[in-house]
């Protein structure tokens, strides 16, 4: 019996682009194709897997402008700020994290845009959200690493893209 952990490690390496991609994983694990599909469905139901999908690299698509916004918020407005920012289409990720200076009441907002103008517009939209005390705009000056699919990290490398 393949454990969930063994299963996810194998599945995370990625399925082949073939007509029956799950059959390939099934052979590798000594399972049937139906068992592979049922296992994925269960892991999704258990929320151990968010979804089964293609990871897409955005830069070749022209999403060149990657900006991280750090919003310092009024503590009791944190949820409202997070929810309002999440509704903006070009915002890919939005969550609470502390500021490196120590302030715990911060919402980080990741923005990807095809054009500088999109990013500028999103920054203005975020600025207008009530409850933000200060907004820091951190533009990307260069990428030092973008994980390729290999080894242990392949399992989760999509999470914080």
């Amino acid at each position: 019996m393949t454990s969930d952990r063994e299963f996810i490690d194998a599945a995370a390496k990625g399925l082949p682009l073939a007509a029956e991609p799950f059959a390939d994983l099934a052979r590798q694990l000594g399972m049937t194709e139906a068992e592979v599909i049922a296992r994925i469905e269960r892991l999704i139901a258990e929320k151990k897997v968010r979804r089964f999908a293609a990871s897409v690299r955005h830069q070749p698509m022209g999403y060149a402008f990657n900006v991280m916004l750090i919003a310092r918020v009024v503590p009791e407005r944190l949820d409202q700020v997070g929810q309002a920012a999440a509704r903006i289409e070009a915002v890919s990720h939005c969550y609470q994290r502390p500021h490196p200076d120590g302030d715990p009441h911060c919402v980080y907002i990741m923005v990807h845009g095809r054009e500088e103008e999109t990013v500028t517009r999103v920054v203005e939209a975020v600025r207008a959200i009530p409850g933000i005390r200060a907004l820091e705009v951190c533009r990307s000056l260069g990428e030092l690493k973008k994980t390729s699919v290999s080894g242990v990290s392949s399992r989760f490398h999509d999470e914080d893209d």
Partner: protein, 155 residues
């Protein structure tokens, strides 16, 4: 990286929108997608292959909720001296647990994501990077409440 704008047609874009949300969990997922999109299985497979060759599709697989597996991740912020950029590039490249690293226009100018088997291992990796690069100030910033997680774009 220089952004390129490959020629994608409407069907490519619709296909990308769908597969980054979900790949049908059925024996022949590309046939199912072909049916949804009014195409053929062969055509969809060719398009997927091309999207992969262009570097747009990276991988078809599970998007894992790592916290549910007991793993520990964080965003790390550090202050990096300009002359140490190459040293930082080498150090973050060495650890598979470090998944992304960016230089940013901010007083805390080095940002990277790390995900490890547990908190102790995560912190040990950050400590080793800090030591190798000679980072004076480093902060591990765990994620609190999430408001939006999936990367989904209307292409």
């Amino acid at each position: 990286m220089t952004p390129i704008e490959p020629a994608l047609d409407e069907l490519d874009r619709e296909l990308l929108n769908r597969v980054q949300t979900r790949v049908p969990l059925t024996a022949r997922p590309f046939a199912a997608l072909a049916e949804e999109l009014g195409s053929t299985e062969d055509d969809i497979l060719l398009r997927m292959q091309r999207l992969e060759d262009l570097g747009i599709v990276r991988r078809l697989g599970p998007i894992v909720n790592y916290a549910a597996w007991g793993m520990s991740g964080a965003l790390v912020a550090a202050k990096l001296a300009p002359e140490r950029v190459e040293s930082a590039r080498a150090a973050v490249g060495e650890f598979p647990e470090i998944t992304h690293a960016y230089l940013r226009d901010h007083a805390w100018n080095l940002w990277f994501t790390v995900i490890a088997e547990d908190e102790g291992k995560r912190d040990a990796i950050v400590a080793r990077v800090a030591e190798r690069v000679g980072l004076s100030e480093v902060r591990i910033l765990p994620k609190g409440k999430s408001f939006k997680l999936g990367v989904r774009f209307e292409l």
